[in-house]
């Protein structure tokens, strides 16, 4: 419970403080850390002083010395090693190939849905449309995750994957007959010819 309380309290200042830092960090390493607790510091204190520390915390936080585990400097990087290039690329490919991997499953679902125009196939087609469109809108965020040397290719593959899903959705619409691809779909817009020659009559009067 003590950890939870601390983290709850410190979450805000660190998050705020982390903004400029994390930017530089992310630039350097590509992995961000929002907060960290220095557990080593906790071990130096006795339980009694700890409880005292809590009491004083409620009265005057500002006057207190830095709480346990608080560090002025940014938390040290885990491992502190250089990032693994292969791993980053693997992650990148995972993200990039995600939409393409879904394609077979989508194909199967769409095949299962059938070509009838009813509520469930329509919902499925809408879902199929929604996902790639959402992904395209969130492209910036996704692209930010993809790093490394093959980033350009990966981004392209990601885009292609989404477009493929979109194409599948469009094809599904086509097979369901929801696309205005035939002459009959535009028939309502054809005006009936205007009458220019008037004729009338009947039996002799």
């Amino acid at each position: 419970s003590c950890e939870a309380a601390q983290s709850a309290m410190r979450n805000e200042p660190t998050a705020a403080a982390a903004v400029p830092n994390s930017a530089s960090l992310a630039a350097a390493v590509g992995i961000r850390r929002r907060w960290a607790i220095e557990f080593s510091l906790l071990h130096h204190r006795s339980p009694a002083s700890q409880s005292r520390h809590y009491d004083s915390l409620s009265t005057a936080t500002a006057q207190l010395a830095a709480p346990a585990g608080y560090m002025d400097r940014p938390p040290p990087l885990a491992g502190g090693r250089e990032p693994d290039g292969a791993l980053i690329s693997k992650r990148g490919w995972d993200a990039a190939l995600g939409p393409l991997k879904q394609l077979p499953m989508n194909l199967f679902i769409m095949w299962m849905a059938g070509n009838s125009v009813s509520i469930f196939p329509i919902m499925m087609v809408l879902m199929l449309f929604m996902r790639p469109i959402q992904a395209v809108f969130a492209m910036q965020a996704t692209f930010a995750q993809i790093e490394g040397g093959q980033a350009c290719l990966q981004r392209f593959v990601y885009l292609i994957g989404n477009l493929a899903v979109l194409a599948l959705a469009v094809y599904k619409c086509h097979t369901m007959g929801l696309l205005p691809t035939y002459e009959s779909d535009w028939l309502s817009f054809v005006d009936s010819p205007r009458r220019t020659e008037v004729s009338g009559g009947g039996f002799l009067l």
Partner: protein, 977 residues
């Protein structure tokens, strides 16, 4: 447009159909008469019998009379060959029979049963229920023309009565109760004369029969006793005047000149009375005097009924009332001189039937039933007060036009194409006009309130209309028109009708009541021209339909141009000169616009130009009149032809010469004046008798120019608005003649382009004959005919397609014609097609069946593309597999159990609701209902649960608010916990 519109709309339709399934099941009892009305008629009365002719009193009769006066009724036989019983008090039809297509020669009450004579057959009917007791053929061998006469001999002393029925050649005496033949006699035995007319009347000893031979100018009298068929006395009277008398009687306007021949004074002195009540001749059998009829004032009537004698005098010109003088030897008759008044639009009195009866106190009373020139039937009591009126004139409707009622909020005030400011000013001024109009109307209503109580008597169909001076008539019609405001969906219309007797009337489409009635006035120039030349002929000049019973109505200005009153025009003929007459009137109020105009030349044809000329701000659609000298004039003369038409064409169909001719309007400039004439452009001789023709309605709207196929390609319709379908009859040269009976005939259907005269398509049905009825709409043609070989009616459909590509079909000259035929399990009299405002709704073909039903048949059943082998593609298209029989379900009968007989025409009118069209059926009966070919897809049902839906919606809104609160609270608690 991301979705396939057609498919989507189809799905929606299916969905909506499912929603409406409940209402399709049947008509509920409380729905009867909700959206429809029926008015049964009998037609123009030709013979009338009172149930209790107390003039010939027998003991039995007077007992009956005193016993039950509630069952008093009158029996009529009419020109529609109807035999009917009408309640003398209620004016309702108690029973009605439609006899075969032969005129009823006479009806007679004898010994408590009703006898009718028509087609050479004597029939006996029970008076209470109209059940046929028996039927006897009077003629020995077939006679070409069935003249006939009926007489009843009742002997007050013994109970032996006899019914005498005679054709021009034979007389039979029948015991009325059993129908046993007592004796028979030949009338022309050995004389060799060709008697074509016959009349008979009882004399104290038996019967006198008079046969007439107008061509030879002879009449023959036969006197018979009751015992045997040996004539007691016969005499041949030379009467050269008979031919002229016939002509005179024809001028008087009715079929048989020998309505009644009565014996005066018990001797051989006869009085010939024509149908119209004029005494045309008095003669002595031995002297054979000439006609005295011309010296007697037309319209006077002498009648002997027991002790009472009536003298009728027309007041003034005859319109508006007559005076009836009743004189009697006994002083028991209530009043001697009564004045019978009726509205002037009924015209003169044409027939008068007085009857006397004995009251409970022993005094005599009498009733007068009277038919006027317009065929309406009036009943008066002995104070001269009218008891009821039957609008039998409406049984003779020849043309119908529906008029939209004036709209309460005038959206159409503004002329299109004006500038913003001018439109605004127009709208403002129009609304001010409208406001003033409403104020005036309110003032009128306020002023007319005490007087309008008389309207309360007006029951359905028999509104009271007291004769009134023209001013108050105008105001009453004005207040009547006040309630005539267009409803929300424009379902309420006015049906303007013209009858064959030259009368105009407007029927309220919601109730069937007559809103106004108007006799087409004679053109003023007529009286002046004839002047003193033919004083007697002046009274006989009538308005009558043009050749072939045509009397077209044209709506020249609609109600949409508010400050300007609507205008309709009727084209008819003046019977004395045969010249066409034009008369314009306001179709809403029934007030004439100007006077009737007689045209100087005969007309070949008339055409209402489909658009008004905007130039003069009058919005009148000109009527193009083509005279026989090929001169074209416009009516009204001051209108101009609208621009924007490449050509204006007219065609005429000459039934006698079997010829079709086309004319084109030619404009030439002469001395800076536009001269209009017509040039003959084509001529098509069909060489076969023309049966019927049908053309597309000029106002018809076509929504879709093509049909979507199963593979989602389009088959474009061949939409030529100028097509005319013609059915002709010829001798069948192909099918070998049957073993028995006449040779087969064949029916040929032609589709003719009326602009170029080209035959677009034609087809021949061998071993077929009429009756043919045709209906042409959009790109299809449906017709019914009789298949002589299979002995059944069949229904055929043609659909015309232009092709698969839009570009091809614009230039298509020769359509692809698909044809299919079906068996119709019932005989059909007439065909019509439903019309909707935009043409989006599916079409229904309406069939008037001989059985009296109007069947609504979805056009999808009549589709040449119905396949023999079903494929998924056809299924996709929504086609049904071909089945030779047209399905007939009782649920498709739109008039449920209200049978309509002798249907002469069916008119469909689009309404403001796309799903609905009004159907008006006329003939002997009138019927109006709403037809919804695709059900009511654009309106909620009448029993839609508004309260439930509102409660659910409000509940949902409240529920969402409450749950939102609850959710917020819960979230807060979760944070705190």
């Amino acid at each position: 447009m991301g979705i396939n519109k057609n498919k989507f709309s189809f799905c929606m339709l299916i969905f909506l159909l499912f929603l409406q399934m409940y209402s399709v099941l049947a008509l509920y009892e409380d729905e009867i008469g909700k959206h429809d009305w029926t008015r049964p008629f009998v037609g123009r009365v030709q013979h009338l019998e009172f149930d209790l002719p107390a003039g010939t009193t027998t003991k039995q009769r007077s007992q009956q009379l005193q016993g039950g006066s509630s069952s008093r009724r009158l029996f009529v036989a009419t020109d529609h060959n109807v035999l009917a019983a009408i309640g003398l008090k209620s004016s309702r039809i108690i029973w009605r029979h439609f006899l075969e297509d032969a005129p009823v020669n006479g009806i007679k009450l004898c010994d408590g049963a009703l006898f009718s004579m028509s087609n050479g057959l004597l029939r006996s009917w029970s008076t209470s229920r109209g059940i046929l007791n028996y039927e006897i053929s009077v003629q020995e061998q077939l006679e070409a023309k069935f003249a006939g006469s009926l007489a009843c001999h009742e002997d007050p002393d013994d109970d032996r009565s006899l019914v005498f029925a005679s054709t021009a050649r034979r007389l039979v005496a029948v015991a009325p109760l059993t129908g046993a033949l007592e004796w028979a006699a030949n009338l022309d035995a050995g004389s060799g004369e060709n008697h074509s007319e016959v009349t008979s009347f009882p004399n104290p000893d038996g019967l006198t029969v008079v046969t007439f031979d107008p061509t030879a100018g002879k009449m023959r009298l036969h006197r018979f006793g009751t015992e045997s068929g040996v004539a007691k006395r016969t005499a041949t009277v030379k009467a050269e005047w008979l031919t002229s008398l016939q002509r005179l009687a024809e001028q008087l306007g009715h079929a048989g000149p020998w309505q009644s021949v009565e014996e005066i004074g018990g001797q051989d002195l006869f009085q010939l009375t024509s149908n119209s009540g004029a005494v045309v001749a008095m003669l002595d059998a031995s002297l054979a005097t000439g006609p005295t009829g011309e010296s007697l004032p037309a319209g006077s009537l002498l009648r002997y009924r027991g002790q009472v004698r009536f003298l009728l005098r027309q007041q003034g010109d005859g319109g508006g009332g007559v005076t009836l003088e009743a004189s009697s030897s006994s002083s028991l008759v209530a009043s001697n001189k009564i004045s019978l008044s009726f509205a002037s639009h009924h015209g003169r009195v044409s027939q008068l039937y007085p009857v006397t009866f004995v009251r409970k106190g022993g005094s005599y009373g009498y009733r007068v039933v009277m038919a006027t020139r317009d065929a309406d039937l009036h009943a008066f009591d002995d104070t001269g007060e009218r008891q009821w009126m039957r609008e039998e004139s409406l049984a003779g409707i020849v043309s119908v036009e529906a008029v939209d009622l004036p709209s309460a909020d005038e959206d159409e005030l503004v002329t299109p194409g004006g500038s913003v400011f001018s439109s605004f000013a127009q709208r403002l001024s129009g609304q001010v006009h409208h406001f003033i109009h409403v104020l005036q109307h309110l003032m009128l209503c306020w002023g007319a309130r005490p007087a309008s109580q008389a309207d309360s008597l007006g029951e359905f169909g028999y509104p009271d209309e007291a004769p009134a001076p023209p001013a108050s008539a105008a105001s009453s019609s004005g207040s009547g028109a006040g309630s005539l405001i267009r409803d929300e969906f424009n379902l309420h219309k006015l049906l303007v009708v013209a009858t064959k007797d030259g009368k105009l009337a407007a029927l309220d489409s919601a109730t069937g009541r007559s809103v106004w009635r108007l006799m087409i006035p004679m053109p003023a120039a007529a009286a002046a021209a004839e002047g003193t030349a033919a004083k007697s002929a002046r009274t006989e000049a009538r308005i009558e339909p043009l050749a072939g019973g045509q009397m077209p109505l044209y709506i020249q200005r609609t109600t949409a141009h508010f400050p300007l009153e609507p205008m309709a025009t009727v084209l008819c003929r003046d019977s004395s000169t045969g010249r066409p007459v034009l008369f314009s009137f306001n179709p809403i109020t029934g007030i004439g616009i100007g006077l009737a105009q007689r045209l100087q030349s005969r007309l070949l044809q008339a055409l209402l130009v489909p658009q008004p000329s905007h130039d003069d701000g009058q919005y009148i659609r000109p009527l193009m009149l083509l005279s026989d000298t090929l001169q074209v004039t416009l009516y009204p003369a001051k209108t101009a032809l609208p621009h924007g038409f490449k050509s204006l064409n007219l065609y005429t169909i000459d039934r006698d010469n079997r010829l079709l001719q086309g004319y084109r309007l030619r404009l030439t400039e002469q001395q800076q004046q536009q001269q209009m004439s017509a040039i003959s452009t084509w001529r098509l001789a069909l060489h076969e008798p023309i049966l019927v023709t049908a053309a597309r309605r000029p106002t018809e709207q076509v929504h879709s120019v093509g049909r979507v196929l199963g593979n989602r390609h389009v088959l474009y319709k061949y939409l030529n608005p100028n097509l005319l379908a013609v059915a002709t009859l010829a001798k069948d040269m192909v099918t070998p003649a049957p073993q028995i009976g006449d040779a087969f005939t064949q029916i040929t259907i032609w589709l003719i382009d009326t602009v170029s005269g080209r035959v677009v398509a034609s087809a021949t049905h061998h071993h077929s004959s009429g009756p043919v009825s045709l209906v042409h709409s959009e790109h299809w043609l449906v017709y019914s005919l009789w298949n002589q070989k299979q002995r059944r009616f069949q229904l055929s459909v043609w659909e015309l397609f232009a092709g698969n590509g839009l570009r091809d079909c614009m230039n298509a000259t020769q359509p692809i014609v698909g044809k299919q035929s079906y068996i119709l399990p019932a005989p059909v009299q007439h065909l019509a097609v439903s019309q909707t405002e935009r043409g989006i709704t599916a079409k229904s073909v309406l069939l008037a069946l001989r059985s009296g039903g109007i069947m609504e048949l979805n056009k999808a059943f009549l589709d040449p593309r119905r396949p023999f082998d079903m494929t998924p593609e056809f299924q996709e298209e929504g086609l049904m597999p071909y089945h030779p029989e047209v399905p007939m379900s009782t649920q498709a009968i739109v008039n449920y159990n209200q049978s309509l007989h002798r249907v002469e025409g069916m008119v469909t009118v689009p309404t403001g609701l796309e799903s609905t069209s009004l159907l008006f059926v006329h003939g002997t009966d009138l019927f109006c209902t709403r037809v919804q070919p695709s059900k009511m897809f654009d309106v909620l049902k009448a029993d839609f649960d508004y309260a439930f839906i509102a409660a659910v919606t409000i509940g949902m809104i409240i529920g969402s608010f409450v749950t939102q609160r609850l959710a917020a609270r819960k979230a807060l608690f979760r944070l705190w916990s």
